[in-house]
């Protein structure tokens, strides 16, 4: 019996012992996925058992509108037993006439946002949630319109509602408020932090985000088909596009039982690691930029550029490679490009080492990041932080090792772990990972077998199957969950990007810090909101929407004092 199987048996036994008849059924749709159907009244006890007694890490919750299937909603909490390579789904049915479920946030703090999100999107209320404010919906979105319910059309534009703005948190007595964002100089993406300060010292904060919510999951379920979604998934993130398309494809492949050719799995590994190399170089530059050390920015981005050109040659585009499809890949890596890859990597490695030696010896970056934004091991675990921030706080998790996908079962990853938990440790973890990724690409290129890169799919993808897939993105673990449906598209497609859990650790990281340390602390999470290049302004008084063209924007920004 494998470790995974033993863990599955133990989990079922323990949960049954704790919640008794509250455990309705236990099935194992895949070797690495355990699905526990739990009565909704037992969900908190079951989640507590998983998190506290079995050490499971909370990943994400999916709210599913299953009214057309069984007359109710489904709330699926997803946990991971990392050491045992097992995903555990806690699946609770919620009747359509009683849209309430116990919140698990009191026992699993990392579930905070996830629960507010399913309340906002499918309208099932988490009872006993410590902070039940609106999270995801816009300030003028009316109450009672739940966008991820299946009877709500994807292009619904309800009239703007009044008074839906969630209340802002009151600062503690004696503290004043300094607002950072939604737009602020260091990160070119919107998020708002209201910092509560006493003098220069931060004593608390409040976060508002989701300014760029694009309704991607809804589009995937309502408009696109299985093979169109990879191109949308790729656009979830501008830096780790290949990661999301791989993660989505793997989830569908797992759900449908499609065997991906071995060569395709190796090429996916290579492209994923290439994304990590260029993303970490990009991040290093931004970190330098945030602390005012722009030489690092210029040089790391220069080093990164040949990789982007190489990606263009391999895939046809420097970003958004468009290579993934269900069952494998659309493009192969020909031998001449494989050898070119090795040359480019040799150069990137040499230059990265030079930059590493320079910044480590220089001390400027270290002086600005050492002991800044400390994330303790305990917080990292309770908020369920992932990726480099977790590994820099001594939590040795990495999806490539814990839930091997693509070719990571054949090319072994050495993960970088540091204990200090400060921003400098996160710099070091990323630099080490960058070099490790270069080694992995070399190894994968050497071990890559010949053969086809795309499996032929003859049968339709059967409905009602579930697939969970993770990919270790440069920022941490990305999770996609797919429940297959009819009509050639998923019934539910759930995406969780790594910044989702990581941002929730920010309050703990900046409490006690100085205001000047906030940007680099936030930057050290390598956060990825999303960006949009077109401005759409709503005149609050008249409610009319006006889209500014490039010429308008130029006129407004150039003309001194000109009014829009």
């Amino acid at each position: 019996m494998t470790i995974t199987q033993a863990a599955a048996t133990r989990t079922v036994d323990l949960v049954r012992e704790r919640v008794g008849a509250g455990l309705v059924a236990a099935t194992q749709p895949h070797a690495d996925t355990l699905r526990l159907q739990v009565d909704k009244r037992s969900v908190r006890a079951a989640a507590g058992t998983l998190a506290d007694e079995l050490g499971a890490r909370f990943m994400i919750t999916t709210g599913i509108d299953r009214r057309e299937l069984d007359g109710g909603f489904g709330i699926v909490h997803l946990f991971s037993l990392d050491r045992e390579h097992l995903f555990v789904l806690l699946d609770c049915a919620v009747a359509a006439d009683d849209e309430h479920i116990d919140s698990i946030t009191p026992v699993v703090p990392g579930a905070n946002w996830a629960e507010r999100e399913f309340r906002d999107s499918v309208g099932v209320h988490p009872e006993g949630h410590p902070d039940p404010r609106r999270l995801l919906l816009a300030d003028d979105w009316p109450d009672g319109v739940w966008p991820l319910r299946r009877d709500v059309p994807y292009n619904l534009q309800p009239p703007p509602a009044e008074g839906m703005r969630p209340p802002l948190r009151e600062p503690p007595a004696g503290a004043s408020v300094v607002t950072m964002g939604p737009f602020f100089p260091v990160l070119e993406e919107p998020s708002q932090w209201r910092l509560f300060v006493e003098g220069e010292t931060i004593v608390g904060c409040d976060y508002r985000g989701f300014y760029n919510h694009r309704g991607i999951e809804k589009l995937g379920e309502a408009v696109l088909t299985y093979n169109e979604i990879p191109y949308l998934a790729e656009r979830i993130c501008g830096i780790c596009g290949f990661i999301h398309s791989t993660c989505y494809c793997q989830a569908v492949e797992k759900a449908a039982g499609i065997e991906v050719p071995r060569r395709a799995r190796f090429i996916r590994t290579i492209m994923l690691e290439m994304e990590r190399v260029h993303s970490h170089l990009l991040w290093l530059g931004i970190a330098g930029h945030i602390v005012g050390f722009d030489t690092v920015l210029m040089q790391t981005w220069r080093i990164r550029e040949p990789l982007m050109w190489l990606s263009e040659e391999i895939s046809g585009n420097r970003k958004t490679y468009g290579m993934n499809t269900i069952g494998g890949l659309r493009r192969d890596i020909p031998p001449d490009l494989a050898s070119k890859t090795l040359n480019v990597l040799a150069e990137v490695e040499r230059e990265s080492l030079a930059v590493r030696d320079a910044i480590v010896g220089d001390g400027t970056l270290m002086a600005r990041t050492k002991d800044v934004g400390v994330l303790t091991n305990q917080t990292a675990r309770s908020v369920c932080v992932v990726g480099p921030p977790a590994r820099a706080s001594g939590v040795p998790i990495d999806a490539r090792v814990d839930h091997p996908y693509a070719a990571y079962d054949e090319v072994a990853v050495r993960i970088a772990v540091h204990q200090e938990g400060d921003t400098w440790a996160r710099v070091l973890v990323r630099v080490e990972e960058l070099l490790e990724s270069i080694r992995l690409i070399r190894e994968a290129l050497a071990a890559m077998p010949e053969g086809p890169v795309l499996a032929e799919i003859r049968d339709e993808i059967p409905p009602g199957r579930v697939g969970v897939s993770v990919v270790e993105a440069p920022r941490g673990e990305a999770v996609h969950m797919v429940e297959t449906g009819g009509d050639n598209r998923p019934y539910r497609w759930r995406v969780r990007a790594p910044t989702y859990p990581n941002l929730q650790a920010m309050p703990a990281m900046i409490t006690g810090a100085a205001i000047a340390d906030v940007p680099i602390t936030l930057g050290s999470l390598d956060p990825c909101f999303s960006c949009t290049e077109r401005v759409e302004a709503v005149d609050v008084a008249s409610g009319c929407v006006r889209v500014y063209s490039r010429a308008d924007l130029l006129r407004i920004s150039r003309g001194a004092g000109a009014k829009p």
Binding site: V223, E228, Y231, G316, V360
Partner: protein, 149 residues
Amino acid sequence: MLLAKLREAWICLKAGRVTLPYPFAPHDPAEGFRGKITLDPDLCFGCGGCANVCPAGVIVVKDTDQHTRLLEFFWRRCTYCGRCEEVCPEDAITLSQQFETATNAPEDMFMRLEVFMGPCQRCGRCFTPPTPLERMMRTGFRDGNGGRA
């Protein structure tokens, strides 16, 4: 510390000038680059395969009368994924090397093709040839809603 500063200076100096002269000199993308879609009207026979796979809903197919199938490409929404090129049985669509597509007039990014079709004698609808195309087609096309703009 000083040594590290010197190292940094050396890294910068050695790199020299890296900025490309583009746009004052042309900058050709690598072979296999996915640029603007081009359409060979002589090859297209109106199967609609491209419209069925396009993730961005760029391609809209309508039968305007018994003999004519209208293909409209609202390619300002094109994601340059190349799926249309991949499935076209006649290689009528290719993704060119052209990437300088910025324009102030969105209507520039539109193509329209009328294909003469043989109508079926019995039902009067445009004739749909069997196999490989059948595999590509779902029943019925999406409503022409202007490329879902």
